[in-house]
């Protein structure tokens, strides 16, 4: 689960702060609208950016999750919305024209949120994220702790993979049997993963300590640089875009039902 794509291109070269604004703008847009058309347009744009930034592999990896979220949410919401013209009834459940469209919109919204995260982490290293948050005025210890949490995901998964391999080689089969049996076969993973991770954290702490890490003392950044003209322009553009979207929504565009 390592999403960052090493590539020299326009989106990668943006200032970390700009990238954070891009993420925030995308998340705002996904909340402002609930019409599948508006959300779909933004979704397509985000996917296009990811592909141009070399993140096709990430989309492929997340493809199943995206489709699952979309279908799940579409179907679920279709049963809960009562407004609109009734199309058909299944027992106590009614399906209306609006419930279907709203469901599609909600599916798009979830996908858009995931995809904006995907976009962000495809073009942003964890260290850039930390630096960006710091430049936005958050205390460094907070930024560092947050980034540590992100860093541990791939490390955790890698440890887990090795232990799982070792167990597979000693005859533990996680691919056959009924679902309960399969789930039970995952239990032996828990202890070794925790032990190696805790040991790892301990060592990491020693390493940080011996490399003179003291968040309260202040520091410099390898990635330190000032935003350029293009960054300012994009940030202004993103802010205006979000305001425009809000304005549109208030004026009656971009929604199926007038609710979140």
């Amino acid at each position: 689960m390592y999403l960052y794509v090493e590539k020299k291109e326009f989106f990668h070269s943006l200032h970390p702060v700009t990238k954070i604004f891009l993420l925030l703008a995308y998340l705002s847009v996904s909340i402002i609208f609930n019409s599948p058309i508006y959300l779909g347009l933004f979704l397509l744009l985000a996917l296009a950016i990811i592909i141009s930034a070399g993140g096709m592999e990430n989309i492929r990896r997340m493809g199943f999750v995206l489709i699952f979220l979309f279908c799940f949410s579409t179907i679920l919401w279709a049963f809960f919305i009562k407004e609109g013209k009734v199309l058909f009834k299944i027992g106590a459940l009614t399906i209306t024209d609006k419930s279907i469209v709203y469901g599609l919109g909600m599916g798009m919204r979830l996908d858009l949120m995931v995809v904006s995260g995907l976009l962000f982490f495809s073009i942003t290293m964890i260290e850039e994220f930390t630096y960006g948050l710091f430049r936005l005025g958050l205390p460094f210890s907070f930024c560092f702790a947050l980034s540590m949490a992100f860093r541990f995901v791939p490390i955790f998964l890698k440890e887990g993979t090795i232990v799982a391999e070792a167990q597979t080689l000693r005859g533990l089969d996680r691919t056959s049997g009924n679902i309960l049996r399969r789930i039970r076969n995952y239990f032996p993973l828990i202890i070794p993963i925790f032990i190696t991770t805790i040991k790892g954290m301990d060592n990491l702490f020693l390493a940080l300590e011996s490399k003179g890490f003291k968040p309260q003392r202040g520091r410099t950044f390898y990635l330190e640089r000032s935003p350029e003209f293009i960054d300012y322009s994009i940030i202004v553009f993103l802010i205006l875009l979000v305001i425009l979207c809000l304005f549109l929504r208030i004026r009656g565009c971009g929604f199926v039902l007038n609710r979140l």
Binding site: D173, A207, S210, F213, T220
Partner: protein
């Protein structure tokens, strides 16, 4: 010139909370700019000493400390840590968990960021350190994708960049190929900081200013390398393998000196033919035909590998860091599936085996024993696999008994596996695999972190099994062990097999090995210069005995 003392330790006693005395009345003085190598068997207190010098004991790691320790003139306890930062940098043996950045450059820069170096200067310094350790090409690589040896070089670089007054390396070279190891010694030779290197490699330690042997928490012996490293008995008693030439000609430490000695004393050398008279013909057990593999459509890690392993082979896979050894081993035991080509085990395509059938046939011992331990007692640990394979109680009991006996772990049945020492864990990991008697056993770096005596005991177990018909495949960087124990060696470089011959012939081909960042053991190098085709010290002695 008055040399400044930079480390001054007086009557140091360190006791851990479990009342284990790690250091006992230790006295030590290290001068500014000195390059000291510390040796000793596992458990002799080497790591504790390192951690005390860098201030982690008692500041971060709880332990009772008696006596005094002065670093750069300051007394450790008074300064409560603050003054240590910037004075002492340390690289630990467990290198994986020390690395946490997204790419190599940022890892190396981290320490500089902490010391508030200006970004421009920082970029220059990082490049300088990367080129010192010859890893400039890795700069933007994601650390998780590096091989073990590459990670170790990065871990070392990430501390050297800090330009600490004292740099301590606590055995972070276990995964390095011979070239990488020499590189670390050369790098340490080129910098002028005070260097403390914990490492058990007498031949390379000749480059140091002073060698120190630790035992039972005390300094047992110290002196210049050329003097101390001739004391074979002392070294052996402390779990260190003496230098080959010194075992043949006492007092001689290098190949060049040995050649001169032979010439000056007109020692007669006679050629002995060590090749077995009748080459054994054995049926193949593993066949790889044009096997290629890569992760996620990246550059191929293995390209068109052809390899035939015979029943009863004792085979070594050697090669430089990142050459694809572990990947090959994982393909052989079915953990990875080749993109193209075919792997046959006992004449049947590996894809046609079920997971379980394959596990019974091929045992795989991972590099880090911690990854293979997950039960509460040693007994359960060994039974884990056997239960999965559906063995009955009596079969399991007798298998446990036998495996513990072979691995010299009798009486350990009820112990907690996590409380064992590194060497014991390694043997337990082997026992868990041996218990179900796989016909093929693959071991990735089975001797990492073990001292000479422990290495020998692990290898003796493998030799015993091999004699009883098991096929053994080991991946290793320890060349003497390849020479002494294996009968066939596969050399890999950049995802290809470069050499695949009898071990004897492989070590004869020094030129090719050097190209692959490898080096035969010293006795082979000496033999090669004299036109003798020897693998071990015993064989060499036969060539000079009357």
């Amino acid at each position: 010139m008055i040399e400044k003392k930079i480390v001054e330790v007086n009557d140091l006693k360190v006791t851990y909370p479990d009342s284990k005395v790690a250091l006992n009345d230790l006295n030590l003085v290290i001068k500014e700019g000195e390059f000291v190598v510390i040796m000793g068997r596992t458990g002799s207190g080497k790591s504790t000493l390192a951690r005390t010098i860098c201030g982690l004991i008692p500041r971060v790691i709880k332990a009772d400390l008696k006596g005094t320790i002065k670093i750069c003139g300051g007394v450790g306890e008074d300064t409560a840590g603050e003054s240590f930062a910037g004075n002492v940098g340390i690289v630990f043996e467990d290198f994986e968990s020390q690395l946490f950045s997204s790419n190599v450059l940022l890892e190396v820069a981290f320490v500089l960021e902490n010391f508030k170096m200006a970004p421009n200067e920082m970029r220059r310094r990082c490049q300088e350190v990367l080129s010192l350790l010859k890893i400039t090409h890795l700069g933007l690589r994601n650390i998780l994708t590096l091989s073990g040896g590459e990670k170790q070089l990065v871990a070392i670089a990430s501390v050297i960049s800090g330009n600490f007054k004292i740099i301590i390396l606590d055995e972070p070279t276990t995964d390095l190929d011979p070239f990488g190891k020499s590189l670390v010694y050369d790098t340490l030779n080129r910098i002028t900081n005070t260097r403390i290197f914990i490492d058990d490699d007498p031949e390379r330690a000749l480059k140091a200013d002073r060698v120190l042997i630790l035992g039972n928490g005390k300094v047992i012996a110290q002196g210049s390398p050329s003097k101390l490293l001739t004391a074979n008995r002392l070294l052996l008693e402390n779990g260190i393998r003496p230098i080959d030439t010194n075992q043949i000609f006492p007092g001689i430490l290098t190949v060049d000196d040995a050649l001169r000695h032979i010439k000056e004393n007109r020692i007669e050398i006679r050629k002995v033919d060590f090749t077995p008279a009748v080459p054994e013909i054995r049926p193949p057990i593993i066949e790889c035909q044009s096997v290629s593999f890569s992760y996620n459509k990246g550059a191929p890690l293995l390209a068109k590998i052809n390899l035939m392993i015979n029943r009863g082979d004792f085979l070594a896979i050697i090669g430089q860091n990142g050459s694809g050894k572990t990947t090959l081993a994982k393909l052989l035991c079915g953990l990875l599936i080749p993109q193209s080509g075919e792997i046959k085990i006992k004449n049947k395509n590996i894809r046609h085996y079920t997971r379980r059938e394959l596990a019974v046939l091929i045992g795989y011992v991972f590099q880090n024993p911690d990854h293979q331990i997950f039960c509460d007692t040693v007994r359960e640990e060994i039974a884990f696999g056997l239960k999965n394979f559906g063995w009955n109680k009596e079969q399991i009991e007798s298998a446990i008994r036998e495996a513990l006996e072979v691995c010299d772990l009798k009486g350990y049945e009820e112990k907690d596996p996590f409380s064992l020492s590194r060497g014991e864990k390694q043997r337990l990991a082997m026992a868990t695999v041996l218990a179900f008697k796989p016909e093929i056993i693959i071991l990735d770096e089975p001797t990492t972190g073990l001292d000479y005596n422990q290495q020998k005991s692990v290898m003796d177990v493998l030799r015993y099994l091999n004699k009883r018909g098991y096929t053994i495949i080991i991946i290793t960087h320890t060349m003497w062990l390849v020479a002494e124990y294996t009968d066939r060696t596969v050399v890999m470089a950049q995802g290809r097999i470069v050499l695949d011959k009898k071990t004897r012939e492989v070590f004869q081909n020094e030129e090719e090995l050097i190209k692959c960042h490898l080096e035969p053991p010293q006795v082979c190098r000496l033999g090669n210069r004299l036109g003798l085709n020897v693998l071990t010290i015993e064989e060499f002695k036969q060539c000079i005995s009357m």
